[in-house]
Amino acid sequence: MLAMNYRGPYRVRADERPMPTIQHPEDAIVRVTRSCICGSDLHLYHGMVPDTRVGMTFGHEFCGIVEQVGPEVHNLKVGDHVLVPFNIACGKCHFCQQGLFGNCHESNAQATAVGGIYGYSHTAGGYDGGQAQYVRVPYADVGPMVIPDWMDPDDAVLLTDVVPTGYQAAEMGGIKQGDTVVVFGAGPVGLMAARSAWLFGAGRVIVIDHLDYRLDFARTFGPAEVYNFREIDDVVVFLKKQTDSLGADVCIDAVGGDAAGNKLQWLFGTKLKLEAGNSIALHWAINSVKKGGIVSIVGVYGPTGNMVPIGNVVNKGITIRANQASVKRLLPKLVEHIRAGRINPKAMITHRVPLEDIADAYHIFSAKLDGCIKPVLLPNGA
């Protein structure tokens, strides 16, 4: 089968690889119909995540047809078209039982701080991912959901990560009616966070980024007020002025460690790796939220440490909420939102690429070429 093959920072290609096999009674093998490149794959692609081994196949946003099931899989059958949440979750452990499906204790040998994630380095369990024609899906009865007949597979594949992550970002913000919500980052997750903030009753939604083409999209997709921080002298002062000098009620970090916007952070975090990525978005979020406000983090950072103004968190009495999205918990609600036409995730897809051209797809997405917002791979043809 054809699969993405990581060769080192900024180097990927598609190669023939052995077919995945059933390795546990609750495994299934899925033939991939759609697979996205996620902004968080770019952290891997840029060599920022420790224990990213050469030869691994990435990809944690995919849907596909069930080809084979292990003896302990009872809810899925061969031929089902399923969307597969990016979290590998057992459904039985202490954490899954609390609905924390992104924090499963039975799916990641290499680290306890995060559950297993498909194709996301050995720090997230060492599973080959879905940027391939076939993929091994553990705990197949727990995570995957059969795609309803009426749903466009383009929406289904975005339900595996982008939509629930953006939605949970807004949910964790504890938004109350009329709140001003600032979303840092106009990538797919930031766009979904902005869109979801309205569902929780936000009064104002402001999106901050530095790419005009993404801000233009956010203005109508959110819809939201949008500002390019490159055109603003000091983002924090600007946001204070926008909010009667009090600060926003809720700030959402939908950027993570690959941020742009601060040269010192870029040098320390992105280039020298002295901190776990450039944390300027989180820095701005903490300093732009009002006293007693909530900062919600879904941006991905490395496992070490970051320079953030923690003293201001104390002095302002800020609540920080953060997690990997618990996809399974949110799916029923999000499926209903799509059915009712309240959200339209597939509008974010700008590129459709055969798996053979994966190197170009990664480069276009990483270098923000050709107006790229969300690329989708078609490993088994359209």
């Binding site: 060769r7 080192g8 900024y10 180097r11 290609r13 390795q23 546990h24 609750e26 060599g47 420790p50 224990d51 081994r53 050469v54 030869g55 691994m56 302990e72 590998i88 057992c90 039985k92 452990c93 202490h94 609390q98 039975e106 990641n108 040998a109 680290a111 306890t112 297993g116 050995h122 060492g126 080959d128 705990y139 949910e171 913000g173 504890g174 938004i175 109350k176 009616q177 309205w198 569902l199 929780f200 009753g201 936000a202 104002r204 005009d212 939201a224 500002y227 909530i294 496992p303 618990s326 918990r329 309240r342 959200i343 190197a359 170009d360 797809a361 480069h363 270098a367 070429l369 050709d370």
Partner: protein
Amino acid sequence: MTNAIVDTAAIPGWGIDADPKNDPTYPMRHIEQQETRGLTWKRPDQQQPDVEILRSIEHNRLPAVVGTSTPPSGLSGTIRRYAFRRSESDWWHWLLLMGADRINVVEGVVQDLARGTLPNIPAEMGARAEWRHNKKGLATKIGVTLALSAAAFALLRSRKRASGSDGVALAGPEEQTRSAVLYRMVLPDHTCPFGVRAKAMLEAHGFEIDDRILRTREEVDALEAELGVDTTPQIFIAGERIGGSDDLERWLEQG
């Protein structure tokens, strides 16, 4: 950029998920359903991995399901094994893994070459897309790369002249693919760690491995009786019995 104030009445589903109980928001700890609070849940079956799995020392047992992508190998693998002696809270754990990642890139190129493929690095980096969408950027990158290589080349040449030597050819003994036969035990409830270790050592030394897995106690007993030994794994290289994993380690050290 002009920004109109968004009219919330025009947003389909505005406020539909607002919830006064959502403070500071769901999910906080929901433990009503839990009978116990510790490591006592009914576990899924234990996967028996047939590759080496490095386990965080913050785990007290292997998770029921593990990923089997790209087991540790080569020098980077040795560094990774060492890194995993330290906890996730230890900065060195992560710095060593990052270092191993970089060494692994070189190993990847060597592996490609050993298989007889010259990796097309510009294509892997998306040069075609760069050409299509960012010609100016591509030209700059090529220009800078050429200038830097020319400078490096000139510098090296001038050094070589100064030392008056043409350098020594580094032709090592011709590498041959070596092969080994490995008998090791993988029972339903127990994967022999020494067998896994032996396999990893052989891989690290570039052996082609005939991996003969003994899946039942009877198979293990039969082999041990046949060879007149009482442990597994057993390794054979070029028809010669090397012994177990410790014997293999000594054998490999002696070259």
